[in-house]
Amino acid sequence: MNNNWLSYSPHIRTNSSVNKIYLLFIIAIIPALLNGIINYGWRSLLVVIVATGVALACEIVVTLIKNKKLILIDVSSVYVGLVIGLTMPPNISLFAPLVASLVATIIVKALSGGIGQNYVSEVSVAKVLTAIMFGASYFKFINPQTGVETTNNIVSSIAGGASAKHIDVLEVLFNGISGGIGETAIIWLIVGGVFLCAAKVIDYKIPLVYLITTLGLGYLLFGFNETVVLLAGSGAILVAFFVLTDFASSPKGIVSAIMFGLGAGIITVLIWKWGNNPHLAPYYASLFVTIIYSAIKGIEINKNKERRSA
């Protein structure tokens, strides 16, 4: 008679879970991954595998040390490893993805408290750190169509002031300009990003405001064709949809999200115009705004907002 189960309301819950959400992220980034591997060959697949494998292994080691048993596989570390692999250039030495995944998983994610507590985007930290460590070999530019190394880098020359009137914008969108493995497949990245927005997994405000700001400000400072080439060649589309929308380091309110995207866009364009390295501009911008957001998270700006009290 008294063997009934007891639990607190509500008695029904959704079917979604944390792993299912990150699985949707992985599905959205697979087209860009396949495009990169088809263009760049087996070496790029090896780079992605090393990045993903090291991220997963570090996460398992940290879980075993903290809890002394493995509860479940954390799919978010697989996702972070994939994105880090996609930001690497295709012919880099295999130490780069190893160091990148190690730093991202252990130093940024685990030491700040685990999932959901990171104060800065771990992909940006990993990319900027390896770019500084691996210097000249990081910036070898390979044409995605022919696979041939070129010394003429179109992105740097445009940032220096050259004009891009002879470049067809549509060709840039569909074939890509040299860069990281996943940064060249513009159309597939946009398809993945729109799929995530439609599935209501990420907020559409941050990528939209970021892209509008960079296009608008870039048009004033450079010109339309030039801005498209800069966007395509420095990985800004990957950053807009997959790096800036990290849950723990991006704001959720309407006004805060708009200011976040605006700030990131302005810093990106300023680094293109007056900075040293146009290839890393979106990643520096993401570092900057996420750290500022984490620093001012606790301060309530809108003190006289009406709250219903009982």
Partner: protein
Amino acid sequence: MKIKAFSYIKGIKLPKIKSLKTSEEVKSLEEPSVVYVSVKQIKGLIPKPVVVKGDKVKVGTTLACVGDNYIYSPVSGTVMEVKKLPSVYGSITDAIVIENDKKGTVLPFIEVQDAYSKEELFTAIKKACIVDYDGVAVFKKLENVKTINTLVINAVTDEPYETNNIEIIKNNLKDVLYSAKLMATAYNIKKISIALTKDYYLEFKKATQLVPAEELEQLEVCLVPNFYPVGDESELYYALTKTRLVGNKPIDKGTLILDIYTLNTIFNLLTTGMCDINRLITIHDATKKQITETTVWAKVGTSIEEVVKAVREEGFVGVKKLVAGGPMRGTALGSESAPITKGLKSIILFGQNVKDVPEEVPCINCGLCDKVCPAKISPMSLDKVIINTDMVKAKEMGVQACTRCGCCSFICPAKRHLTQRMQYAKEFIKDKGI
């Protein structure tokens, strides 16, 4: 009859559960031989019993009272004893056990009249202790009120296991409109409207064919989308007028919102002198793959065990979890001997295939709970603050505005027990007097 459609932005769309009705008509259960009347049937102070063993009672005799809160007997007979029984709210309270002599001699509350003035209506509703759907007494809404502009009849169904508003619309729409008109004449209310969810408009239209046309002329039909919790008073007011109430109730702005079942009860009171003897209750049987529902009229005070045994052949075999109320706000009961109160709408029986309580994993800061909260507080930040037992900060962040709707716990992908934590904080603040 004017029809208007409204939109409602906050809240969540709950998955619809398809259930099969066991019969088209609503039948009445036969009279039980023993009746248990629980003393906790209205929100407020708990009444003390005033009868002892051996007293003879009629329908309408006072069994327990404290202040303005009275508990009346639903049957006539002899009092057997006063003992402690579990209640449908989860606690253990006194219950008066009466042996039913099945004669039904009545001691009416009021004299029946054709027309009622404002004071007579208020006195009648106050004496009969009629409750609205959330357990609050109706007379508390009407106390000290200056003017009422609109009377809204709340017939909204927003939970997946449905309540029985649709049966009242099918069978008693004429009575409901008659009592609404009596209230409008007494309180000088200009506009009467009825709020429905869009799915039930066709059934409502079929039911209006039984009502004479002149009573429907001035009625306004408001269609709202089926998003939970649009059935709550403040949320319905927001859906109809797009203004947020801050620390107020709708009655302060001149809108009286009453449940459709409450108006049916007021009709019984004003035309027969007696009310709240029987209760319309729906039993949802979710133990098998095909979910069935049965709606019956049962006498107030019947124990849940008897009701389920009369409706379901196997009795309690295969039932693993018993929930009194809806799936989002209801209480899980530990024993079947709890008796029916005059505010209980439905019972849900879960079987072996019910899911276990999920385990919590760390919060990923996705922000879905902030988006769906109807009270516009932030469960994501309150979760962290309450875990650190910082209740002063929690009170500043507005945890007392939580209405326990359960939307945040429902949508959380990390399966965190957010509703439970908010309720814990509210009780902590009340106990320690922060």
